[in-house]
């Protein structure tokens, strides 16, 4: 009964999304106010019904209703309740439901906070989001309905993929989806700008907090995903250039470019068409990400779903959304272009222009490496994959300049800056940055190298130059710390921390495969690992063999690690749970291999210096994004515009 209720709610949401998109647009066209007024309530209704659908599916999982095919395929009565609930988005159908629910959340938020927007703009944005929602709801309902029943109901579920039974999974996909879907707001604003023909600084001010909001969720999602892969895959790595990782990384790169280009459009009134194009691209890549991961076209550890009919539907949807918006862009964007002033190289807009170039080229490089194997396969050019060395080789020279540029962010003024001013302000941070980059590896790890220094100095430069900006702003007669500025600085510091982490773990990380009998020991990077043996243990839905490894440095015992090998009988799958001793300057990581003759086991030992800095940097960026997105400046300005909007609305007639 309850699953049918969920199904019914899903169909009602589908109908409402159509109402939410078409009626207000027709109202906009014909100037009928009461039709336009439908947008917000329809969005609220759609949200409500999606919540009902989601709760219904959640209830089916919670109560182990295996007559629902999706529940039976992804859950098991032996699973703890929190994994049963997380299993809602453990596979394709539920993920799509989560996707549309997130979209409804964003739509309702936009509708609620857009009261100060001119009426036509607000209506247009909400109805554009309704259109997107309609497409994805139709997809969910027709090809991926999670409420399908099967009779007779199986007695046991097939269990959740054990790879996904980790606290990271509970929050990683929702955060990622919040980010993906969040770019739909910027996308809807971009379409509205094309339709109404206005990209002014007011438009950018409305768009900026939403874009930053989406970006911070995506950043958080990617950071969590990296941390999850490190914990769960047992390979001691934090990024694999796996197509599924790339799928979330491409919208992130373009979204980052969008945030920066929006700043220029707001402050200087230039780059309008470019900003609009970036907004379209960011959302297009988000859909592509959904398509890549969920259609099963990829051969990768993440691609769980395999059903080509879905792929074709998503491809059609993708073509409609992206093709449609690009057509609109080609038709209307020339009207946006204004003869701008030339951009001076030594100005903030020049700096941001370079930032955009590097980010977009980096995104293109990732896109090439991710899609080429698919294209080659489709054209019958052979089965090809692109190795991680390609990405590393291309990525390092493209991102290093970004860090260099980030250091100048605070001291570079709009329009034009003198070299002398910059040198005056930044020579101290530069010297400090070099000093720290030399000392940090030496003090923390007792060693250094040219590559480590080169990486570190980029990071410390971004951090020190950002710190200088904060320090200078706190020195005047009153504190000049606006949230936006602090947010930007935090995010840049985060990028610096991240780069230091990457450089040092790449330069000094090491691993060693050993075979040990109980009582034997092995050493790595100055640490001794004493293998004590393996015991059997039983978990809620698995059988585990748990090893005990004591870690010593000299005579002193630092930690005892318990790497496991788990066998999940329902799916017949085996998982490696690594044992990790966490530290600020280094992780020690042991994963259990396989049993060998004579009671021996193979073990893989990892030494991972500064690996935590990678995720700490990501979290700094999230915090920075949060501060910037919630800058009260946006709210204050909105109030002022409200008055402006009220007086000027008569001037703007309905769009042609």
């Amino acid at each position: 009964m309850i699953p049918e209720l969920g199904h019914f709610a899903l169909v009602l949401a589908l109908c409402l999304s159509l109402v939410q998109s078409l009626l207000p647009l027709a109202g906009l066209r014909t100037g009928k106010d009461h039709w336009m007024a439908v947008a917000a309530p329809a969005a609220a209704g759609q949200f409500l019904f999606l919540v009902v659908a989601f709760v219904a599916l959640g209830w089916a999982f919670y109560s182990n209703d295996f007559s629902v095919a999706y529940v039976a395929a992804n859950s098991n009565a032996g699973l703890p309740w929190y994994y049963r609930l997380a299993a809602i988005w453990g596979s394709h159908e539920g993920s799509m439901l989560l996707w549309v629910l997130m979209l409804a959340v964003w739509t309702v938020a936009v509708a609620a906070y857009s009261r100060s927007l001119p009426r036509d703009v607000a209506t247009c944005v909400v109805s554009m989001m309704g259109l997107i929602s309609f497409g994805f709801l139709l997809f969910t309902w027709l090809t991926s309905n999670p409420f399908g029943r099967q009779f007779p109901a199986p007695e046991h579920g097939q269990d959740l993929n054990p790879l996904l039974q980790d606290p990271g999974l509970i929050i990683h996909p929702p955060m990622l989806y919040m980010g993906y879907v969040g770019f739909s707001v910027a996308f809807a604003f971009a379409l509205t700008a094309l339709i109404t023909g206005r990209v002014d600084s007011a438009w950018t001010r409305w768009t900026r907090p939403w874009t930053t909001g989406a970006w911070l969720f995506l950043t958080f999602g990617i950071t969590l995903g990296s941390w999850w892969a490190y914990n769960e895959l047992g390979w001691g790595g934090w990024w694999f250039w796996d197509p599924v990782e790339n799928a979330s990384f491409m919208p992130w790169l373009v979204g980052t470019a969008l945030i920066h280009s929006l700043a220029v459009t707001e402050k200087r009134g230039i780059f309008q068409s470019w900003t609009v194009l970036l907004a379209i691209s960011a959302f297009a890549l988000s859909i592509l990400g959904t398509f890549l991961v969920r259609s099963g076209v990829l051969i990768s550890v993440h691609a769980f779903a395999t059903d080509p009919s879905r792929g074709i539907f998503v491809l059609a949807l993708f073509t409609a959304v992206v093709g449609g918006s690009l057509l609109l862009y080609a038709w209307r964007a020339p009207r946006l272009a204004r003869g701008g002033e030339p951009v001076h190289a030594l100005s903030r807009e020049g700096l941001l222009l370079m930032n955009n170039i590097f980010l977009v080229v980096a995104a293109a490089a990732v896109l090439l490496g991710t899609l080429y194997p698919l294209v080659a396969d489709a054209l019958g050019l052979g089965r090809i994959s692109v190795g991680a060395p390609y990405f590393n080789l291309v990525f390092v020279p493209l991102t290093a300049p970004l860090l260099l540029l980030a250091g100048f962010a605070g001291s570079m003024a709009w329009k034009r800056t003198r070299w002398r001013t910059i040198v005056q302000r930044l020579w101290v941070p530069a010297v400090v940055a070099v000093a720290i980059a030399v000392l940090l590896p030496l003090v923390a790890l007792g060693t250094t190298s040219v590559a480590a220094f080169a990486g570190c100095v980029l990071g410390t430069w971004a951090i020190c130059a950002s710190a200088e900006e904060l320090w200078r702003r706190s020195r005047g007669s009153r504190m000049m710390w606006s949230r936006g500025v602090v947010g930007m600085t935090m995010a840049h510091i985060g990028a610096g921390v991240l780069v230091i982490g990457i450089s040092l773990v790449t330069a000094f990380g090491s691993e060693h495969d050993v075979s040990l009998q109980p009582g034997e020991n092995a050493s790595l990077a100055g640490y001794d690992f004493h293998f004590q043996g393996v015991k059997d243990q039983t978990g809620p839905n698995y059988e585990a063999r748990v090893a005990t490894v004591d870690v010593y440095r000299g005579e002193q015992q630092l930690a005892t690690l318990y790497p496991e090998k788990r066998h999940y009988p329902v799916r017949g799958s085996v998982m490696t749970e690594s044992g990790i001793d966490v530290g600020v300057f280094r992780d020690l990581y042991v994963s259990l291999g396989e049993p060998l003759p004579d009671n021996a086991w193979s073990l893989r030992l990892y030494y991972r210096p500064f690996v935590r800095w990678i995720w700490a940097g990501g979290l700094f960026m999230v915090l920075g994004g949060f501060l910037a997105a919630t800058d009260p400046r946006y709210r204050r300005l909105r109030h002022r515009e409200k008055k402006f909007a009220a007086t000027s609305e008569r001037g703007h007639t309905a769009p042609a």
């Binding site: 054990p162 790879l163 051969i299 190289a345 089965r383 060395p389 390609y390 060998l596 003759p597 193979s602």
Partner: protein, 155 residues
């Protein structure tokens, strides 16, 4: 030419140069890191030159896995419907590596046509097989020689 124009021209030239350089760099790196997938019969027929890194996928042949005394070096044979290739690997094997399982390995051939693998991948699921391996396990009439317990999932 006015100053503004000259400056603009400089900027455009700089941009184009940078983009050209980036593209050149990208494509070179791309060319060098393309990994082809071959199946055992292609390799056994001598169609793959030694020294180039590629991916090899197939079934681990029954009874072919042997370990060296000290434990970490493993030799086995990867097979498709018609041929098999000897493989050597040093390190820890994935959880679901076993005889009869479909796997993918990364590495290169040495002069004696022995495949030296540096990475072995097996899926985390006993009944799942990667589409590449599934395809490699079709003979030239399109008939599959895959183990029976996996045919249902792959089709």
């Amino acid at each position: 030419m006015t100053r503004t124009r000259r400056r603009r021209l400089m900027l455009v030239a700089l941009l184009l140069g940078g983009l050209g350089l980036a593209t050149a760099l990208m494509l070179t790196a791309f060319q060098e890191n393309l990994l082809y997938f071959y199946q055992p019969s292609t390799v056994a027929a001598g169609e793959v030159a030694p020294g180039a890194r590629f991916r090899l996928g197939g079934l681990v042949e029954q009874g072919s896995v042997s370990r060296r005394e000290d434990g970490l070096e493993v030799s086995f044979k990867l097979a498709d419907c018609s041929a098999s290739v000897p493989v050597r690997y040093q390190g820890i094997l994935p959880d679901l590596f076993r005889e009869g399982q479909g796997i993918v390995t990364y590495g290169q051939l040495n002069q004696d046509n022995l495949f030296i693998a540096d990475e072995v991948l097996a899926k985390h699921d006993e009944s799942y097989m990667s589409p590449e391996v599934a395809e490699a396990l079709q003979d030239n009439k399109g008939k599959s020689c895959m183990p029976v317990n996996m045919q249902a999932k792959a089709s």
